[in-house]
C-alpha cells in the first residue's frame, strides 16, 4: 500500500511535467488547428535561453519572466516569418515545416550549448514537484480566464473555429494565429523551466516528454485545457504504476505503454475523454 501511494505521488509529480507540455500543445491546437511537432524543441530552446541568463548572473525570477517574454516574441516571429507566407500551402507541407523547425532548434541548441547534460535550478528548493504542479494549475486558471472572459480570448477562439466569419466581424485572424504561437511558445518556456530541474537540460530532453505530452493532450481531448492537465497527470500516474506493477515490461517499454494508451483512448473515444467531437480539417 505504501509502495502504491509512493508511486502514485511520483506519478503525480512526473504527470505535472506532462500536464504542462500538454497544455502548451492544446494551446497551439486551439490557435492553429494543428499539432506542432516542434513544440518540445521550442520549449527546450527557451529553457537553454533561461540557463544562459542564469549563467550570466541574472536572478531567477527575472530570468523566468524574461525568458517567457523572449519566447512569446519568438513564437510570434516564427509565425510571421515562416508560416504566414505558407498559409495557402497544403497541410502536409506545414507538417514538414514543423519537422524542419524541429531540426533547426535541436541542432542550434547543440551547436551553441553542446550536448552535455546541464543541471537547472528550481525556485522551489526541495518542494520542486509541488511548486511545479502549482505553476501548472496557475497557468490553467490563467488560460481559462483569458479564453472565457477577455475579448481577445474570445476573438482567438472565433478565429480558430471559423476564420472567415471571424474576419467578417473584424477579427484580425492572422494576428490571432500569431498570438497563439506566441502564447504556446511562452507556455512551453514555462513548462521547460519547470521540467528541466527534474530531467536535466540537454538538446534531446524533450522528445519522449513530448510524446507523453501528446498522450496527455489526446487523452484530455485536444480542445480542452483542463482535459489536457487531467490527461497529463493520468499519463504520469499510469506510467509509474505500470513501471512498478507490470513485471519488467513496465520499465523497459515505457514509451510503448504510452503508445498503447494513445491508441486505446483514440480508438475507444476518438475525441478524447474531455474533448468535443473534433471537426478535423484536412
Amino acid at each position: 500500500m505504501e509502495l502504491f501511494l509512493n508511486q502514485l505521488l511520483a506519478g503525480l509529480a512526473t504527470g505535472g511535467i506532462y500536464a504542462a507540455i500538454a497544455l502548451a500543445i492544446v494551446m497551439i491546437y486551439q490557435a492553429i488547428d494543428h499539432l506542432n511537432f516542434a513544440q518540445g524543441e521550442m520549449a527546450m530552446f527557451s529553457t537553454f535561453i533561461a540557463w544562459q541568463l542564469l549563467q550570466w548572473g541574472v536572478p531567477y525570477w527575472a530570468t523566468f519572466f524574461l525568458t517567457i517574454a523572449v519566447s512569446f516574441v519568438g513564437g510570434i516571429a516564427i509565425e510571421r516569418i515562416v508560416f504566414k507566407p505558407l498559409k495557402n500551402a497544403p497541410v502536409l507541407s506545414h507538417i514538414v515545416v514543423f519537422i524542419a523547425l524541429f531540426s533547426v532548434f535541436n541542432s542550434l541548441a547543440g551547436f551553441i550549448w553542446d550536448y552535455s547534460i546541464k543541471s537547472f535550478p528550481s525556485p522551489f528548493g526541495g518542494l520542486h514537484q509541488v511548486g511545479m504542479i502549482a505553476v501548472t494549475l496557475l497557468l490553467l486558471v490563467g488560460l481559462y480566464v483569458f479564453f472565457q472572459y477577455t475579448r481577445i480570448g474570445l476573438a482567438m477562439r472565433a478565429a480558430a473555429a471559423n476564420p472567415e466569419s471571424a474576419r467578417l466581424v473584424g477579427v484580425r485572424v492572422g494576428w490571432m494565429v500569431a498570438l497563439g504561437w506566441g502564447m504556446a511558445a511562452a507556455i512551453g518556456a514555462v513548462a521547460g523551466m519547470m521540467i528541466a530541474p527534474v530531467v536535466f537540460l540537454e538538446p534531446n530532453m524533450m522528445l519522449s516528454i513530448l510524446l507523453y505530452g501528446f498522450a496527455g493532450a489526446v487523452v484530455g481531448g485536444l480542445t480542452s485545457p483542463g482535459g489536457a492537465v487531467v490527461g497529463g497527470f493520468s499519463v504520469g500516474i499510469l506510467e509509474n504504476l505500470a513501471g512498478t506493477y507490470v513485471p519488467y515490461v513496465g520499465s523497459e517499454l515505457k514509451l510503448t505503454i504510452a503508445l498503447v494508451l494513445i491508441v486505446a483512448v483514440l480508438v475507444v473515444k476518438p475525441s478524447g475523454l474531455f474533448g468535443r467531437r473534433a471537426v478535423v480539417r484536412v
Binding site: E164, A166, V169, R172
Partner: protein, 237 residues
C-alpha cells in the same frame, strides 16, 4: 441623397476563374437595394467581392474611400456588416458570445451591452437561448443570430445573403419588418440578395438583376417589377 457605395466595372476571381465580369453598382445612403438573379448568377460572389473576401479587379468606393484590395477586417471596420450565405455561425460558442463577436470592432462596453439587449428585443428567441451553444440552434434561429451579429457592428451598410433562407413564412415577415425598422430608424443601408424576388422587390427602393456575372438590368424596384421579362423569370406570373 448621397452615394454610400459605388462599384465600377468590378471583376472577381475564384483562383484563376473569373466569376464576375464587370459589375457596376451604386447604393444610396439609407436605401434598400436588392440584387436578384438565378442560382449561380453571381449574387454571393458580388457580396464577397464587396467585402474583400475574394480577389477583385476594378474600383469599389465606400463613403468616398477606395476599399478594393483592402483586407476584409479593415472593410468591416468602416461599417460594412455581412450576413453570409450559410449564416457563418460560430457553432461552438454561445449565442451571447456570437453577439459579442459582432461588436469586436467597438470599444464602449456599456453601449455594446445595450445593443445586445436591443437584439434580444428584436429576437426574444435568442435571449432564451443566450447561454446555449449556437450550433444547437435551429436553422431559423441561427439566421436570426446572424442578422443580430451583423447589427452588433452598428453598420452603415448591411450585406444580406438570402436572410430568409430556411425561415417559416411568418418569421420571414417578422425578419423583414425588423430590417425595415433598422433601415428607417438607424439609417442603415441594406443590400439584399434574395431568392424570394417578390418579397425583396416589395422591400427595396432599387433593384439590380445579375446574370452569369454581369448586371443586366438596373432600376427602381417598381420598374423591375413592371418588367415583363423579370416577371416571367423571377416572379413567376
Amino acid at each position: 441623397m448621397t452615394t454610400l457605395l459605388e462599384a465600377k466595372n468590378v471583376a472577381a476571381f475564384y483562383g484563376a476563374t473569373k466569376a464576375l465580369h464587370g459589375v457596376d453598382l451604386t447604393l444610396e445612403e439609407g436605401s434598400i437595394t436588392t440584387l436578384l438573379g438565378a442560382n449561380g448568377a453571381g449574387k454571393t460572389t458580388t457580396l464577397r467581392a464587396l467585402c474583400g473576401l475574394i480577389r477583385t479587379e476594378g474600383e469599389i468606393r465606400f463613403a468616398g474611400t477606395r476599399i478594393d484590395g483592402r483586407v476584409t477586417e479593415d472593410i468591416v471596420r468602416l461599417g460594412i456588416a455581412h450576413v453570409p450565405e450559410g449564416r457563418g455561425t460560430f457553432v461552438r460558442l454561445t449565442v451571447e458570445e456570437n453577439l459579442q463577436l459582432g461588436a469586436m470592432t467597438r470599444r464602449n462596453r456599456a453601449e455594446i451591452a445595450a445593443d445586445i439587449e436591443r437584439v434580444y428585443e428584436h429576437f426574444p428567441r435568442l435571449k432564451e437561448r443566450r447561454k446555449q451553444q449556437a450550433g444547437t440552434l435551429s436553422g431559423g434561429e441561427q439566421q436570426m443570430l446572424a442578422v443580430g451579429r451583423a447589427l452588433m457592428l452598428r453598420p452603415r451598410l448591411m450585406l444580406l445573403d438570402e436572410p430568409s433562407f430556411g425561415l417559416a413564412p411568418l418569421v420571414v415577415q417578422e425578419l423583414f419588418e425588423i430590417l425595415r425598422t433598422v433601415n428607417r430608424e438607424s439609417g442603415v443601408s441594406l443590400l439584399l440578395v434574395e431568392q424570394n424576388a417578390d418579397l425583396a422587390l416589395e422591400a427595396a427602393d432599387r433593384a439590380y438583376l445579375i446574370e452569369t456575372g454581369r448586371i443586366v438590368m438596373a432600376g427602381s424596384a417598381a420598374e423591375l417589377r413592371a418588367d415583363e421579362g423579370v416577371r416571367r423569370a423571377y416572379l413567376g406570373y
